[in-house]
Symmetry: C2
Subunit: 394 residues, 2 copies
Amino acid sequence: MSATPAFNPPHRILMGPGPSGAHPQVLRAMGAPLIGHLDPDFLKIMDQVRAMCRQVMRTENAHTLVTPGTGTSGMEAAVMNLVEPGNRVVVGINGYFSDRIAQMAERAGGEVTRVPFAWGSPVDPDAMERAIRGAGGPVKLVAAVHAETSTGVETPIAPLAKLAHDHGALMLADCVTSLGGIPVEGDAWGADAIYSGTQKCLSAPPGVAPLTIGPAAWDAIRARETPCNTWYLDLNLLETYWDERRSYHHTAPISMIYAVHQALALVLEEGLEARWARHERNGRALQAGLEAMGLVLHADEGYRLPVLTTVRIPEGVSDAEVRGALLNRHNIEIGGGLGDLRGKAWRIGLMGESSTPGNVLLALSSLGKILREQGYRADLRAALDTAAARLDQP
Amino acid sequence: MSATPAFNPPHRILMGPGPSGAHPQVLRAMGAPLIGHLDPDFLKIMDQVRAMCRQVMRTENAHTLVTPGTGTSGMEAAVMNLVEPGNRVVVGINGYFSDRIAQMAERAGGEVTRVPFAWGSPVDPDAMERAIRGAGGPVKLVAAVHAETSTGVETPIAPLAKLAHDHGALMLADCVTSLGGIPVEGDAWGADAIYSGTQKCLSAPPGVAPLTIGPAAWDAIRARETPCNTWYLDLNLLETYWDERRSYHHTAPISMIYAVHQALALVLEEGLEARWARHERNGRALQAGLEAMGLVLHADEGYRLPVLTTVRIPEGVSDAEVRGALLNRHNIEIGGGLGDLRGKAWRIGLMGESSTPGNVLLALSSLGKILREQGYRADLRAALDTAAARLDQP
């Protein structure tokens, strides 16, 4: 018997930008025996996943599925399929992930206009409209991130979708961090394409990406003059497996499909509105507590996500030491800053199963105590009092 | 509480072309709580996965990792990263998956020469050499499938690698169905790039793809003049996460990394040679039994994979009825023919945990009885006698 490494991952409290803690029933679902990717029983599970994705994304789109990869695979599938060489693409850039959309659109051969916004502000429709008008010709695709995981900012999608349609363009919305945590209203927004991930507010492990494509976007994909850059995520091919043709394309990630099936069922059993209210209540309590402690929230007021809070790192406090102490002494993961916010802000997630009153109080208490050790005069009593009071409100 | 679909997948005996049955310890590993994709404990697990992948692929390649998608993502990562627009690529086409390599190389902008072989025969080095000489200029990449899942044929890779190197080209080998079942000797073959899947002879669920890139291939990837077509599977980016830089690229499919960690550990604990011998013994017993029953094996003698057997469907027998009866009455999944072999052959897998003496005898017994109902005079006694005797040999 060779010496093989032991497998013993620790039990963490996941309050970073994702993954969030998985629901025990989701973990248990992955323990179910494998069945074949063309087994009639598996095809039924796929149909149920499609149907539940539609419910959770609030859309009637026929072309709704999960791509066989993490959230970034959903982004790649959407962008690579919708953008053909020479297509004009306008992307609102207010964080790390919106810039990633732009990078992918460039790889797809798109002529990309990046419309910059502060990392901490939403995408502004007026600036986007000026960019669309100045793009030098018809724009094929307008894209924005609904919930920027790098900044904790929500950008309302409906006004951007209207703007895109007014100019004959399609609207792509990244809902990786929002789906299942705050309202995602696919059809009511008029979004033409939405993708998400499973490891945020759906509380499943990362590994598949819910994706929905509306009729106009689907027509554009069907009418491509050149094949999509990617074979693995070519939606014309993927759809032949997910629809009634059931053609072999790839071997589906069976256990991850089990996981997302259970995760979506749990979301619907809780009820979308109740789930949104839970995320709202816990997120606002955390934010009120952080401010009461004396800290400064980074995202613009009015656009702060309840599911992911960015808070500025106080002067003189060591980012690495604070996060290290949280992890090693309290088993709590929070996120560091990404991109422009590296070393400047922390990202505290309250997503899915991780969004609980207990985690709100635990985060404030643990962070407050560590900040005091670092010489920052955190007002811990005010933080906990304020948060506890806010937890009693709707 | 909404009416959400119940989750109750059946327990199948998986003897198709994959997935194979997962080891209970692998399923259990996926039930472990999630930790963050940048958690120090997770990074250790990633390092162990890299090290175990190297052992199982018999390579010292530094650039060894698992891509965040099923086996096809490994193929796409290898092809899209190694092929730049205008590069000449020579692919030996002896089945469905080798043709898929050619399709991907075309999407990457390669000038692809397809060298056709019978679906049931290996790739012949002499024909490949003629194609390389006739390609109209220097060839960048030679590719072949080690174990063709569509035909049950093994193609020796070492002679093709020598040939590629003699002509200044790199050698890419698809080892999706071979890894962990028959010898894969990455460095001894001289393969420059190898990818695999997890749901075949490694007996983990599908969802990640082991991939190793040798020094010359890595130099080629580093020296690309144009960025790779895919962002999600761009190895220059992926490597920054897997190596000591630990840059964020995507949220790793945590539970699938747990699964492949356990699966690789189980392979090494069994021992590669012992595991190869087990697959050889069970596969040859099945093949001997099928022939004793009166059936005709499809793949060329001498090149038949022990892990995946193709057997011709006798005249007058209904493909769909036989596979339906196996699934519905015996809970056994076998595979239908793919591509050119649709309706002409069955594919019976004995991979990983599914490669057991019990499954050999069960497959022969169940198939024999169903064939008799279909009017085919299967010699069931000879089949079982022959297989049982073969199971006692090495």
